[in-house]
């Protein structure tokens, strides 16, 4: 078990190397002095000198890269060109808001997606199934920045039920959460449907039916137990993508999280901000994937056996 965890943790190394290499290449590719682009034009000369030394701009590219990674490990992602604040501090400040939004979207998406997927699979090939399937394809095709605007127009500007934008209590959170949950509901519905249909075809379901077990028991005890694991995986992976998909949703609703921070960075060409957000976003995404893998491992004895026998 522990060797498995170690193996998975070890795989993080090339990933993190990959993302830092990407952003490092970006810093090199950008016009101007990479050190200035990290600390900002307005930094004190001593700071510039210190970073220059740590980064080793006078040395070769490889040791420059090592210096760059070293700075990252210390949480030094550079400073914003505009506010001159440390990018990492701002990210830490805004992360809880993004987390709230992602959790909000999850609370909506999980029950709705599971329910719709279950109905669709149970009533396979009926009109209900077709309607739900069409709805879920539509959900996958909606651009969130558009559906978000329409929701805002209808519920905030016309019905005045929620504030149109801003960061704050739960009233501010509801619309962006719904917006973010729409594609997630669509994905979860589709995956639930396919998973359940596969399980309904398995012999043990036929056996259970032949034994005269009630449909309720078959679904909740026999089928759901088997569907649980793949669904946990999808939900976990989705959670990682909510944290990142938030770029568009947060921008629309003026929700002060990492996504909007990224967007502002893009508009102002504030490169340290963009790169800090990309690195942190990727790390979070990868860590969640890892967590899902480990949970999967604990939940499913088959996976565990398979891993151990190798």
């Amino acid at each position: 078990m522990n060797t498995y965890l170690l193996k998975r943790l070890f795989l993080l190394v090339p990933l993190l190397l990959g993302v830092t290499l990407l952003t490092f290449t970006l810093t090199k590719a950008l016009p101007g002095d990479p050190v200035l682009s990290m600390v900002g034009e307005r930094a004190q000369p001593e700071v510039i000198e210190k970073i220059r030394k740590e980064l080793g701009t006078d040395k070769n590219v490889f040791s420059q890269y090592l210096g760059y990674v070293g700075l990252m490990l210390k949480g030094e992602f550079g400073r914003s060109y505009y506010t001159n604040r440390k990018v990492f501090d701002d990210i830490l400040l805004k992360f809880p808001n993004t987390l709230k939004l992602a959790l909000g979207a999850m609370i909506i998406a999980i029950p709705v997606g599971l329910f719709l997927g279950f109905i669709s699979a149970y009533k396979k090939d009926t009109i209900t199934d077709r309607v739900i399937s069409s709805l879920s394809v539509t959900g996958l095709s909606l651009p969130v920045f558009w559906s978000g605007l329409l929701l805002m127009l209808f519920f905030s500007l016309k019905l005045k039920l929620f504030p149109p934008s801003g960061t704050g209590d739960i009233r501010f959170l509801i619309l962006p959460s719904i917006t973010l949950s729409l594609p997630a509901i669509a994905t979860l519905t589709r995956v639930t449907r396919t998973t359940l249909i596969e399980i309904y075809d398995m012999p043990f379901v036929a056996t259970a039916r032949a034994k005269g077990i009630t449909e309720l028991k078959i679904n909740f005890i026999h089928v759901f137990k088997n569907a649980f694991i793949p669904l946990v995986t999808v939900i976990g992976l989705d959670f990682g993508s909510y944290l990142n998909g938030a770029v568009l949703t947060e921008t629309i609703f003026g929700w002060d999280g990492i996504g909007r921070f990224t967007m502002e960075g893009i508009i102002k060409r504030d490169y340290p901000v963009i790169m800090g957000c990309i690195i942190v976003g990727t790390i979070i995404f990868v860590l969640i994937n890892l967590l899902v893998d480990v949970i999967y491992h604990y939940l499913d004895p088959r996976v565990r056996l398979h891993e151990n026998s190798r």
Binding site: L142, W146, L157, V247, I252, M263, I266
Partner: protein
Amino acid sequence: MRIAGKISIAILILISLLSLFAPFVSGYNPDKINLDSLKEPPSFEHPFGTDNKGRDIFSRVLYGGRISISVALTAAFFSMGIGLVVGLFSGYFGGKIDTAIMALVDLILSFPTLLLAIGVSIIFPPGIYTVMIAIAAVGWASFARLIRGYILTLREAPFVEAARALGCSDMRILFVYLMPQCIPLSLVMMGLKLGGYILTEASLSFLGLGAQPPTATWGSMISANRAYISSALWMVLFPGLMIAVTALCFNTLGDTLRDRYGLHFH
């Protein structure tokens, strides 16, 4: 579902033709500012209304469709082309090259797509080519993985053995015997991916990383007009509707193709 697939193709052809022949369909110059017709609601003259600079939304949507659809298609072709070649080599030769390539593929697939695309697109100046590169730089990986897996099952097939026995070179086996076998699978995959590419293009344009003003794309129109949503809904409604309908048709087409050919992707 068959009918849904056919309807999707029909709508896609209609949208493409309208965009292609935009100058003949709409009498307005999409970028021409007209101060006499600011924010006019949809009417017979302007079916989708006009924007805050008096430009005809209908023609901007059609001209924008040229960009959005061709960017998504080009990115899809490049993704498919690169993925096909990489997958062929990786699967056929195996060994260390294969391990290295698949590690790279896993690396790319474990990045959050939109963030990676944003990363790629800030290296280059904003524009349609940047968006194509950003999409293809991420997109080829899923094609490569699919094709590699397929080649692994074909590598020892009798017709490949026969070609080898006849003394065909590896290149000939790869490109004359194996590649044609992969085309249908790649096309189905492309059908499944195109809807997503339309959305990524729209998202990158919305973020200001695509074609620059005054050129219209569906995503940038929504971004530029979103302040007017309560006073002039049509300025945002129609571009978004075009994105949603196009993506929906591509997604439905992709699903239909997948079901038709009984393929399963993981």
